[in-house]
Amino acid sequence: MNSVSVQQSRLFFALGITSLVLWILSFGPGLFQLSSESGIRSIQHHLFSWLCHQDPERTIHFHDHPMAVCARCFGIYTGFFVGLLMLPVASFWLKYRFKHRLALLIIVICLHFVDVTGNYLGWWTNTFASRWILGFVFGTACIALLQNEFFKKHGDIL
């Protein structure tokens, strides 16, 4: 009978709380209905300014305020957090080796480059939805790499 054992549980919970906080902060001031009429950038925008271009034209607006990160980054943080929540279940049901999960991550990174390049060259115009979905898949693919670090399945691996 297959079973799953938990390892490095403290690191897993720390990672879970961190990704939850990042995900909440990425919503920006709109989540807390804070006014941005003063022109002062919110603390959330300051926090992510080292990590994201925050171009308002490429950022989803939440409660009439631009989020603290662009649509692609919001997808990444969402995918990372959701992936982490799904990790215990995924560890039991999915049986892919590390090299397959790494290949998935590399493919997703390549897709991002293709998407950005195609958009830059005018071959197509990516949308909030397409950028968010690609970001979500990237965040999930990052978490998939850590599958067997936290939850070890005792059974067959493909």
């Binding site: 490095q8 022109g39 990590l51």
Partner: protein, 183 residues
Amino acid sequence: MTDSNALPNYWPSVLIASLITGLIISALGIASGYLTIASEPAGSSFNASSSVGILACLLGAIAGVIVNWHYAKEHQITYKIGKGALLGFLAGLFAVIISTVVSLVWTELIDANYNQALYDWQMANIDAQNVPEETKEMSRNFVPKPGSPIALATQFGVGILGLGIMNVISGIIGAKIFASEKD
């Protein structure tokens, strides 16, 4: 590869990763500053060229990947992802320090007018906002002068928090890719 309790010195890898990341962040930050100065103040709270992620998002998080790649390959070792998280955090921390130092050198020695031009642009941007005068005054009082101790402390603190956290995560992923026993 061997997993050893007494791991070799990781500081060279931390310094290499933080130097690469810090220089990239500095270059992008300074370049985006010049783009901001060259643009017309439109009154927006945000400017497409006002942040370091001008070319690619999450570029500041590569320190965690680089440090684990270098450390694992240089010493041909494996270690737990918790160690990778520590290496990522240290690389992110030093990347912020290096970036701040480079920015200081640039704005104090190479282009002394940079900070004043950026500050003037910010003031002009506030003037262009479609808000009451008292709100503009509040904004003017709130905006620290670029290069001032308050601005530097804010930039430094926020950088350590943002890059520190992200490089912990990228450090974990980097350690899994480059330094873990493969399943």
